[in-house]
């Protein structure tokens, strides 16, 4: 069967992927006019699908694609335990961003997760409701808060502009992605000292749930070899 590789369909991640391929002597050629499918020139047996970064994680989990390039944050968020379903085989050195817990600078008494834990409990006792954490990373947040023993909170899903949730009054704490921290600072927010949940970057990932026949394996071996990735997991 044809080997399928999913890469981001737009933005900086797509550009970085193209640069990565160019560096490995691979040239992407569009197969259809709308640009959602492509192939490598001179490398038969490999189909490249251009998907949104979030859909790539879901496709890898479901086994709909063999290989994918996307952010580790999105892969780890897609399911609580990905180890049996996806193998991260190469950090690609781009798309770096941290998933962090941030609170308002107004909370001068809060600088650690232990402080936040205190405030969560006090808030629940005083206000008779739980403190709200706005995030698009519900799974990562749950696991990290549980690891820090925090139970008195609730997650409110946030699709975008999470840094504005505190000013908008829709949440009291956020878990968000940041590269330089500038957006958080501009919104009067600070990252907790021990509040870095994940130091993420783009990863080359292998779906362990996809169907792998000899043909797909052989194509993957060639492609991964060119990209300098370890493929012993296959």
């Amino acid at each position: 069967m044809t080997l399928t590789l999913a890469i981001p369909s737009k933005g900086r991640l797509k550009e970085k992927c193209e640069a990565l391929f160019a560096g490995a002597g691979l040239k992407l050629e569009q197969v259809n006019a709308r640009g959602y499918r492509a192939a490598f020139a001179g490398l038969p047996g490999v189909e490249v699908l251009l998907l949104s970064a979030g859909d790539i994680a879901a496709a890898l989990l479901a086994g709909d694609v063999h290989l994918g390039i996307t952010g580790e944050d999105l892969l780890r968020e897609a399911a609580p335990e990905i180890e049996n379903r996806i193998a991260l085989i190469k950090k690609l050195g781009f798309g770096q961003a941290d998933v962090v817990v941030a609170v308002s600078n107004y909370w001068i008494d809060v600088s650690t997760m232990a402080d936040l834990d205190d405030v969560c409990a006090a808030y629940a006792a005083t206000h008779k409701k739980r403190l709200r954490v706005a995030t698009k990373y519900a799974n990562l947040t749950r696991a990290f808060f549980a690891h820090n023993g925090i139970a008195d909170y609730r997650i409110v899903p946030s699709a975008g502009a999470t840094e504005g949730a505190l000013a908008a009054g829709t949440a009291e704490v956020i878990v968000d992605i940041t590269t330089t921290g500038a957006t958080l600072r501009d919104n009067g927010l600070k990252i907790l000292d021990d509040g870095v949940i994940l130091k993420s970057q783009a990863n080359l990932a292998v779906s362990l749930t996809a169907e792998w026949d000899a043909e797909a394996r052989a194509a993957a071996k060639t492609l991964l070899g060119k990209l300098g990735a370890d493929f012993t997991t296959l």
Binding site: S104, D109, S111, A122, A151
Partner: protein
């Protein structure tokens, strides 16, 4: 087991027969059956139960956009109704119905199962309430035909009283109590306090704290008043954490005690005596429960007392227990005291609460010939 159970005639009839037996016993003890709706407002569980229950709760949105949940237990909807109606206390309520829990770590476990249970609200005499529920739980299992079982018991009040005795700032006491059920966490926390790793970076001076807050520009208050922030900042800045090594060691060793109840009680007494701590009324409460169990003919060697047994359920506050199969492998019923729950649900003043839930399907499997 299948994640979506399907009951054939023999199975559902056996389950119904057992339910009739259990509910008849509950009714004889003045616990009248009530049945909350299967679909509940999602906020009822999500606002008050914390993320652990939330993670295991099925939620859905109805066509008009309201968030609903399939009930993960019957205790909370029953307690909520009692609070809303401002009913006369004490109140005795029983139930039998399906509950729904998502099991992210065990996809093969059924997501729907039946529970029968009792709730005793507003009984001022806690020892009496504990004894009544414990007795009823054991009698229910016996009425269903169970001959042999083992017990696990604990008491969050014991640890709470110990922590209240410590010379620590209030929020540190609350922090220790809150994390009681997390293996290893309390020990680590005590160790950190003992080594002074928790000193504050905030200015000690009250004016400096106010100034610091004023210098935060447009930063959003995020749900907390100026007074709340300042009060906690001042408490943090002022705190001197120093814990007597003997006391910290005693707590850590107490939490490690897990033995047949009579051995455990002797160990706890020896430990407290050595550390110079008196917990007479709390220990008397544990002994009173042992007397109840003996009067019911339960062999004390079958009762394990586990000092850190607080269950990971977030609302328990005192006595906790689990009835298990003779081999100890399967939980048949579990319960305990949750004296904070009704206030969290909006009761104007504290209302005592103690109850127990029977896992009727595992019970039926345990008594099957």
């Amino acid at each position: 087991m299948n994640a979506s159970p399907y009951y054939k005639p023999a199975a559902i009839e056996a389950l119904n027969r057992q339910a009739v037996t259990l509910l008849k016993l509950f009714a004889e003890r003045f616990y009248a059956r009530e049945e909350p709706s299967t679909l509940q407002p999602a906020a009822l569980f999500l606002d008050r139960s914390g993320e652990e229950i939330r993670r295991r709760t099925f939620t859905l949105t109805d066509p008009s956009g309201r968030d609903l949940a399939l009930r993960p237990d019957l205790t909370i909807p029953i307690a909520k109704r009692l609070v809303e109606e401002g009913r006369a206390l004490p109140a005795r309520i029983s139930y039998n119905g399906a509950v729904f829990r998502h099991e992210p770590q065990a996809p093969e476990k059924p997501v729907q199962f039946f529970q029968a249970g009792v709730e005793l609200f507003g009984e001022p005499d806690r020892a009496k309430g504990d004894a009544e529920i414990l007795t009823l739980a054991i009698e229910a299992l016996r009425a269903a035909g169970l001959k042999d079982f083992t017990l696990r018991m604990g008491d969050l009040g014991l640890f709470g009283a110990l922590v209240d005795d410590l010379d620590l700032p209030p929020h540190w006491r609350s922090r220790l109590k809150r994390h009681f059920w997390r293996p290893g966490y309390v020990e680590t926390l005590l160790d950190r306090i003992g080594h002074g790793a928790e000193s504050s970076r905030l200015p000690a001076d009250a004016t400096a704290i106010e100034k610091l807050l004023d210098s935060q520009g447009e930063a959003p208050a995020a749900g907390r008043s100026r007074a709340e922030v300042i009060a906690r900042a001042r408490a943090e800045a002022a705190e001197v954490l120093k814990l007597d090594g003997n006391v910290a060691g005693a707590i850590t060793r107490l939490l490690a005690i897990s033995a047949p109840i009579e051995t455990a009680l002797a160990e706890i007494r020896a430990l407290l005596k050595k550390a110079g701590i008196a917990l007479d009324s709390e220990l008397a409460a544990v002994e009173a429960r042992l007397m109840v169990l003996k009067s019911l003919g339960v062999d004390p060697t079958k009762i394990e007392f586990n000092a850190h047994f607080g269950r990971s359920m977030e609302y328990y506050t005192g006595f906790v227990f689990e009835l298990r199969t003779a081999d100890g492998k399967t939980e048949l019923a579990g319960g305990g005291r949750y004296d904070n729950l009704l206030e969290l649900l909006g009761a104007p003043k504290p209302v005592t609460a103690v109850g127990c839930a029977i896992h009727t399907e595992t019970l039926l499997a345990a008594v099957a010939p």
